[in-house]
């Protein structure tokens, strides 16, 4: 197992470096922040002082080297907006998004497995067709529209849920529902398809010929084999959750890292943007490695090649 994980980490290192470099360049490209943070009437001296304080007067290469040095210590400098340490801000906002994302994925996976298995077990029934149509629709709904309609329906019209904020359990419902709807729809279809394949496989026939009950066939034999494609899609969806989080945090005012990034872009707060992006990119890489590790755990053929 461990050599496998180690290998994956090495191959992930280069893309990570490229992402960091890309962020550096793109952030710089968004323009000169001087005009955003200093009033129009600022004098030359004040501008020069601002530039020197934030290291903008250095040649770009020096800035780059300083940047990478800082990355290794997870020090991105201070926010232009608030003066706080950029990494502190990023680390503070991250858990809020993580909570949303993890809860969403767990609910989506559990829901998809239950509905998908149930639908695959009785294919072509009315229930199966209905759940297929439902999951296809769910996978096609624009999350922002769903959020807005949800807010309108439950908060404005019915008044049972809050429109924004993070206090109280009720305020979690709409953000998670919004974030969850597309992954749930996609995953359900994938699980159903994979289970139908698995249930028609020869090893299921064999298990049945040994007298295994339906429950055992589904949960023990078929499910494990259906896990691999489902895992791939779940991984892609998890990455896409970051996108979704941006929208959800914007609409519901959730203080997560997506909101932080958008604000940082709009306000040209380089330091915060770099810190936030690095955190996101690293967690995505960790997630991908974890998924590959799951494959290895699930399927012996991945970790031990055939020997006669």
């Amino acid at each position: 197992m461990f050599p496998f994980v180690r290998r994956r980490m090495y191959t992930s290192a280069l893309p990570l470096v490229i992402v960091l470099l890309g962020v550096f360049l793109l952030a710089r490209l968004t323009g000169d922040p001087t005009n955003l943070y200093l009033p129009e009437s600022a004098t030359e001296a004040q501008r020069a002082a601002f530039a020197e304080k934030n290291g903008f007067d250095q040649p770009i290469l020096t800035q780059l080297i300083d940047y990478f040095k800082g990355v290794l210590h997870f020090d991105f400098g201070t926010s232009l907006r608030t003066g706080e340490s950029a990494s502190d801000m990023a680390l503070r906002a991250f858990p809020a998004t993580l909570q949303l994302a993890v809860t969403t994925m767990i609910l989506a996976i559990v829901g998809a497995v239950i509905i998908g298995c149930w639908a695959a077990y009785r294919p072509n029934s009315l229930a199966d067709r209905f759940s297929s149509l439902l999951s296809m629709t769910a996978a096609s709904i624009p999350d922002f529209w769903f959020a807005i309609t949800g807010v309108w329906l439950f908060a404005v019209l019915l008044g049972v849920l809050p429109t924004s904020g993070t206090d109280g359990a009720l305020s979690w419902i709409l953000p998670i529902a919004t974030l969850m709807i597309r992954p749930l729809g996609v995953l359900t279809q994938v699980v159903r398809g994979a289970m139908v394949s698995a249930l028609s496989a020869p090893y299921v026939r064999l298990a049945r010929s040994k007298g295994a009950s339906d429950f055992r066939v589904v949960s023990h034999h078929a499910l494990r084999n259906a896990a691999a494609p489902a895992l791939t899609v779940a991984g892609d969806l998890a990455v896409g959750l970051i996108n979704g989080a941006v929208v959800v945090e914007a609409i519901f005012g959730w203080p997560g890292i997506g909101k932080l990034m958008i604000d940082a872009i709009l306000q040209r707060d380089f330091a915060v943007l770099q810190a936030a992006v690095l955190l996101t990119a690293v967690s995505i890489f960790v997630l991908n490695i974890a998924i590959d590790a799951c494959y290895a755990l699930l399927d012996a053929r991945v970790r031990e090649p055939a020997k006669v």
Partner: protein, 327 residues
């Protein structure tokens, strides 16, 4: 993802002597018959066709209905003809007809989504097939590049790029296309790599076929159905992505209008004029659901081994799928 026909778990494996030849590629009329046979997919195709027709001809037909400002009529409710048939879906704060704006937005939305999908499909597929066929360093490099692009949240990338380079329609298309290339790259590479190890490729090589001709003549036709299915599903994703960008303010800019932008603009009027945000969203959902259904149908129709399901009248198909499990 399935139409109601995609439910049969197992195809009969016994060789039934005299079964119609499933290997020939079907002609036009057969495709049409297969489509008509599956009512749900046919409906989806009709809806999608309507959407495309609206995108092409709609703006011409509605004239200036979408831009005609009429402040006397602002924020009128839908489902009543009291304000003229043009306003049957309501009006916006400036009195412009919702129906008209929806139609014009259709063209804008599609004029971003379709080119983005076509570009990313072509570029991604070509590179993927090439990388998968030759393997070696080409494959590694292509996959690493795909990894880099895929591991970055596309929305963020789009926001940053568009912020830097200003959100024109062309830039949006370019950004969306680039972020979607890895999807086609990975699919094409995987299939191409699997095919390149098959015997018929070696056979082609033995009589001197060049790599490129093998790819074009052997690999491409086999990979094409999968790629088309992926493209149709990707179309949904790109539409949703463009809507999200416009919603965030970094996509289509006023005075142009897209469905995503309309949802965003209607947000502040949620309490008073719910239809401003509602209808554009419905339009998006209808289009994307239809595309998804059509993609599922295309997957069955494109696979010679599964095609038979679409040649049976639906009523009779249920007889084949009755499980009657004995064990």
């Amino acid at each position: 993802m399935s139409t109601q026909i995609d439910m049969v778990p197992v195809k009969p494996t016994t060789a039934i002597v005299g079964e119609p030849d499933a290997g020939r590629r079907p002609g036009r009329s057969v495709w049409f018959r297969m489509l008509v046979n599956d009512r749900v997919a046919a409906a989806a195709a009709a809806v999608l066709g309507l959407v495309f027709l609206t995108a092409i001809f709609g703006p011409m037909l509605v004239g200036d209905m979408a831009t005609h400002i009429d402040l006397d009529n602002s924020n009128q409710a839908p489902f009543t003809l009291a304000h003229g048939w043009a306003n049957v879906l309501g009006t916006d704060p400036l009195g412009r007809s919702m129906l008209g704006r929806l139609i014009v937005a259709c063209r804008t939305t599609l004029s971003v989504a379709v080119p983005a999908v076509v570009i990313s499909a072509v570029v991604g597929s070509v590179i993927g097939m090439w990388a998968g066929f030759y393997r070696g360093w080409r494959e590694t490099v292509a996959m690493r590049v795909a990894d880099v692009i895929m591991s970055f949240p596309s929305l963020l990338l789009a926001v940053v790029v568009l912020y830097v380079f200003s959100p024109s329609a062309a830039n949006i298309v370019a950004v969306l296309a680039i972020t979607r290339i890895p999807v086609y790259l990975r699919t094409a590479r995987a299939e191409s790599a699997e095919l390149s190890s098959r015997v018929f490729v070696d056979a082609a090589r033995t009589f001197g076929a060049s790599g490129r001709s093998i790819i074009t003549r052997h690999v491409l036709p086999i990979v094409l159905p999968t790629l088309l299915t992926v493209a149709t599903l990707d179309f949904c994703y790109v539409m949703l992505a463009e809507s999200s960008l416009s919603f965030l303010g970094i996509g289509i800019q006023p005075p142009d209008v897209s469905w995503g932008l309309m949802v965003s603009q209607g947000r502040t009027y949620l309490h008073t004029a719910w239809w401003l945000s509602f209808f554009p969203g419905v339009a998006i959902v209808i289009t994307t659901v239809s595309a998804t259904i059509l993609a599922a149908w295309a997957r069955i129709a494109g696979d010679p081994a599964q095609r038979w399901r679409l040649t049976v009248p639906q009523k009779r198909l249920s007889r084949f799928t009755k499980t009657g499990k004995a064990l």
